[in-house]
Amino acid sequence: MVIKVVKNFFSRIFSGMFRGNRELRLGFYGPPNAGKTSLANRVCKDFTGEEIGTVSKIPHETRNVQFKEKVEIDYKGKKLMFKMIDTPGIATKIDYEEFLKYKVKKKDAKKRAKEATQGVIEAIKWLDDMDMVVIVLDATENPYNQVNITIIGNLVARKIPILIVANKADLGKADVKKIESAFPEYDVVGISAKTGKNMEEFYESVFKISKKI
């Protein structure tokens, strides 16, 4: 036990020393349509002026892992360099007929479903390569979803620091407190990636969580 504590202490000191100006790999994970790309876009736009990917009301718009390198977040005089990694939404089921509701043609819907399944597999593979992860949840949806629990469980098993974001907090149906009570052991920030509501608190939390790396 004592050896483990000493080992952890030195490992933190040394990882901090050698981290230097290395980019921290910041992953955006969560279920489909929670607003992962919207949030990643907002951060990238705030600090680089460019977006990372396209957003859509149709689920599984992001079907490949997308990156934006050298994103330097500057918050209250503190600076950190990130590699932003936006991942496809993780789901346990994908039915092409769901996309037909959004007036997608059958052929395109089938293609989208096939790409979405590959995207989920890719997102899971990338779990090993993150330094820290922002889990983006839709604050208007029930947080007691096994996908959310599975993602968190995998990050905890890999000792990757987690920040939970309750997105869409600008909507009337949003219930940030429900997400906080579902995951009491983690930092939860209620934001709106669309309107920019509470982004200051988000950046503050990112800096706070980065200290755990």
Binding site: T92, I121, N142, Q146, T150, N154, A157
Partner: protein
């Protein structure tokens, strides 16, 4: 609404069965074999109620393998999955005791895992106090 009309609204359910899998059946299997066994049961149009729970890494692999199967098995749309685990408010001492017990037993027997094919199970609704299986007609 009268009882008769309530019954009428239930409609006909597609054929399926519910299978219970005791933990002893998967205890000695490695991760590959566990996932294979679980998916075989689900692919047979069964709702699986498994004693215990998979490791977090196994759950992620189960999701990955499920996605790969959607591409290869006609009509398969994936699964609905929920784990009921009364481990939220144990406190540090409670968690410590539970971890020791789980290590001795070789798994978390206090948990229950429910997995069903998405063609049969529309949604598993859960909150801290209850769990509901909504089935497709």
């Amino acid at each position: 609404m009268s009882q008769k009309s309530k019954v009428k609204h239930l409609g006909k359910l597609k054929g399926f069965s519910i299978q219970f899998l005791p933990f002893s059946e998967i205890k000695d299997l490695d991760s590959d074999e566990r996932i294979k066994k679980i998916l075989n049961i689900v692919l047979g149009n069964n709702i699986l109620i498994q004693q215990g729970k998979l490791k977090a890494e196994e759950e992620a692999r189960l999701i990955g393998d499920t996605m790969a199967m959607i591409d290869h098995i006609k009509g398969f749309q994936g699964v609905e999955l929920a784990v009921i685990d009364n481990g939220g408010n144990d406190g540090i001492w409670g968690k410590f005791k539970k971890n020791i017990a789980n290590t001795i037993i070789g798994g978390n027997l206090g948990a229950i895992t429910i997995i069903g094919p998405a063609t049969i199970v529309k949604e598993i609704k859960r909150n801290p106090k209850k769990i509901e299986l909504l089935l497709n007609r």
